[in-house]
């Protein structure tokens, strides 16, 4: 860690603290319908769509509405991919996407995961990107926010049957929160150099021709291999470069602010067209946390005690800062295998040094390690460097942050509702220790609520660990691995961790665009999303119906440093108990091998 590394993390943390309250206030005003001008618009939209803005829904109807819109979205994205060759805005004549890949991608974007088995610039038409993928970036993010607000209403209300109107919540989050923020970020991004056009890819003559080995393919388009199984290549030369196009800035903006993370281009935010400068990178990093951090303040306001919100915020920020420092630290130490090759990995005023494999020169170590921690604290999954090439412990940071359930600010909405579930669990554990019925924010947690809490907490580890175990045990699963040894296992574990937690980042060496991975990862993504949302809405309904008990002498305070520690402890305990054995077989073994190497 250089002083500069500390400075980058410190300034970023300060900026996150600074935007939390204004963001939270605005979210509250929008989501609670306090701004008269906006309520007129949302009312009109709602009525035009055949819903009554005055009528609220109970939790079952709310959950059903969530599922319906998600299902429609999945069908829409699937259809657009399968038909894109016949549709407009396809200047590169992209073929229709295969059924298994289209299914995987549809589920991926509807669940706010944005796991990508495909490369954007080689697969998707502009229409599919903007009308399919980008729309789901908006709607899945808005759904997450709506569910979080519904859960907070459950805490804030007393003896109420309803938890809100999903149609209204979806409209509010999309039009008044995500859309203006996206527009702002899109404009800044374009100013910095992000592309936005509908042109065909442009072939330009390069300054110097490139000679290379071109893999030979047979008539069926399959690579030809020699007797040893190595691909046969022919010498070739190219004097041109093909520059991609597309409506990128508009999609980039919502990809960050909605914590979706699916890159328009294959290299995601490592691509200079998708993240050209340190300023665009800073804006992207702040956009990822903006709503997630703001929602903690919104929560405090809505339950009438902002200390409750700051307590969650503090727990999140502490875990985040520690993990960000760890990521930058291990990446800055570089790769010991290079030392004896006379490669200079030291940081100086002239170079960042460290482990630069898979990283961009303009971001260096600090901005890449920090980005990795941010994108996996939140359920974003955009990357500005390749996590697969991180050092073993540097790569363990994003893996472990996802395994904690993405409660460190988390996805928009999902971070708050998952953290609230952990807060309930923390209160429950504390209640067991002193022999009292657990209560949080004046609500008693009874058997039904704790059952739902347990489901919400256990569903992702089950999906991740079973999914990874099956992949390791089958030929189809093992076939996708790129790197040998422990790192290959990490690739598989990372994939299911990312899918089950709806993150979407990858150890991208894994060849995941196969029927096996497309189907199993889609299952993990779907249940990782909706097997959380339904029990959480059930808790919201159950809580809303309860009375609020006044604070008494025996009430455990759920604000302040003690509860911060208790909450962090609960999150770490659950995460470590679930995943330590698996992590030990991957990154931890690899680290021991790396440091023990002669």
């Amino acid at each position: 860690m250089t002083p500069h590394d500390w400075l980058v993390i410190g300034v970023y943390v300060a900026l996150v603290v600074a935007i939390t309250k204004p963001m939270g206030l605005y979210i509250e005003q929008v989501m609670e319908g306090r701004l008269p001008f906006l309520t007129r618009i949302e009312g009109a939209v709602c009525r035009a769509c055949g819903c009554n803005p005055e009528r609220e829904q109970d939790w079952r109807e709310y959950a059903l509405s969530v599922l319906l819109v998600s299902l429609l979205g999945a069908v829409g994205v699937y259809a657009l991919q399968r038909l894109q060759a016949f549709l407009p805005l396809n200047p590169q004549n992209m073929a229709n996407v295969t059924a298994d890949s289209a299914f995987d991608t549809a589920v991926s974007f509807v669940t706010n995961t944005n796991w990508q088995g495909y490369g954007g610039e080689t697969t998707m038409s502009y229409l599919t990107q903007m009308l399919g993928l980008a729309v789901q970036n908006f709607l899945s993010a808005a759904t997450g926010i709506a569910v979080a607000i519904a859960l907070v209403r459950g805490f804030a209300r007393r003896s109420s049957v309803t938890i809100g109107n999903f149609w209204l919540d979806l409209t509010r989050a999309t039009l008044f929160l995500l859309l203006p923020l996206s527009l702002l970020i899109a404009l800044v991004s374009m100013q910095q150099g992000v592309i936005q056009n509908f042109d065909a890819y442009e072939e330009v003559a390069t300054l110097e021709p490139t000679s290379y080995q071109n893999p030979r393919v047979d008539d069926a388009g399959q690579p030809v291999k020699d007797a040893q199984g190595n691909p046969v290549t022919d010498p070739a030369a190219s004097a041109t470069q093909t520059l991609p196009g597309g409506p990128l800035a508009s999609q980039l903006a919502i990809k960050m602010v909605g914590t979706n993370g699916g890159g328009f281009l294959n290299a995601n935010s490592a691509h200079p067209y998708e993240n050209p400068t340190p300023l665009s990178n800073l804006v992207e990093m702040l956009a990822i946390f903006a709503i997630g951090a703001g929602l903690t303040y919104t929560f405090g306001r809505m339950v009438g005690d902002t200390r409750q919100g700051w307590t969650l915020f503090a727990a999140m920020l502490i875990v985040f800062a520690v993990m960000a420092v760890a990521a930058v630290h291990f990446e800055q130490r570089g790769n010991p295998a290079f030392v004896k090759l006379d490669v200079d990995q030291s940081a100086s005023l002239l170079q960042p040094g460290g482990n630069m494999e898979g990283k961009e020169a303009r971001f260096g170590i600090a901005d890449s390690g920090l980005f990795a921690a941010i994108t996996t604290s939140a359920s974003c999954g955009a990357v500005n460097g390749m996590h697969d090439s991180f050092t073993p412990l540097g790569g363990l940071v994003p893996l472990f942050l996802m395994q904690l359930g993405e409660v460190v600010f988390g996805g928009v909405g999902t971070g708050l509702y998952t953290m609230l579930i952990f807060a309930v669990l923390a209160v429950f554990i504390a209640g067991l220790m002193i022999g009292r019925t657990p209560e949080y924010l004046g609500k008693k947690f009874e058997a039904y609520d704790i059952k739902m809490t347990s489901i919400a907490i256990l569903v992702t580890p089950a999906l991740v660990l079973v999914g990874a175990a099956l992949a390791v045990a089958t030929d189809a699963g093992r076939a996708g691995v790129l790197n040998p040894g422990a790192h290959g296992f990490s690739e598989i574990l990372y994939a299911y961790t990312s899918a089950g937690n709806n993150n979407g980042s990858a150890f991208a060496g894994l060849s995941a665009n196969t029927p096996y991975y497309n189907v199993t990862l889609a299952i993990a993504m779907w249940f990782g999303r909706f097997a959380m949302i339904v029990p959480i809405l059930a808790i919201a309904g159950s809580l809303a119906a309860k009375k609020r008990i006044p604070v008494g002498a025996g009430t455990m305070p759920t604000h302040g440093p003690l509860f911060v520690v208790l909450l962090i402890g609960t999150v770490l305990l659950v995460g470590a108990l679930n995943y330590f054995p698996a992590d030990a077989l991957g990154p931890i073994v690899e680290h021991l091998m790396m440091t023990a190497a002669p």
Binding site: V69, G132, L183, N197, Y212, F338, V343, S348, G353, A361
Partner: protein
Amino acid sequence: MLKLIRPAVSLFVVLSVITGLAYPLLVTAIGRAAFADAAAGSLVMRDGKPIGSRLIGQNFTSPGYFWGRPSATSPLPNNAAASSGSNLGPLNPALLAAVKQRIEVLRAADPGNAAAIPVELVTASGSGLDPHISPAAAAYQLARVAKARGFDTERVETLVRAHTAHRLFGVFGEPRVNVLELNLALDAAH
């Protein structure tokens, strides 16, 4: 259930039109009006023809040009139509082999240079299209470029400095040299 279908379908259509058509078209219109150069890909022109993009790295191998980051795109390096990193793990023998091979090529191009090689010159970038190198990586290649072109090293150094960008507010990002622009300036200096 049935009474939910109408709002679900209508709202899905309305929000799709707004976020999936109106919004990207609005951004495109603003981009064309206010940031035309960037929105079109930041093309660099020479003699009235595009010679690449300022943001997209190109492959350089002759000693008279500065070389950029190694690129792991396939089938050829710096393939802007299919961005990609190597995704090789830190212990992968293939990574070590690639690094050794890059070191050999760098040493062969500049036999007199015994300095340690900056790590960026032997490791593949994340996108495979990194347009920049660090000032250290430029300094390492300075003597070779100057010699191949018959320039004073001071003259090349001045050009490098003119194409070096600094950190944002002294904090974010890294000092960096744009390789394509620097090489174009070298050509223009003849």
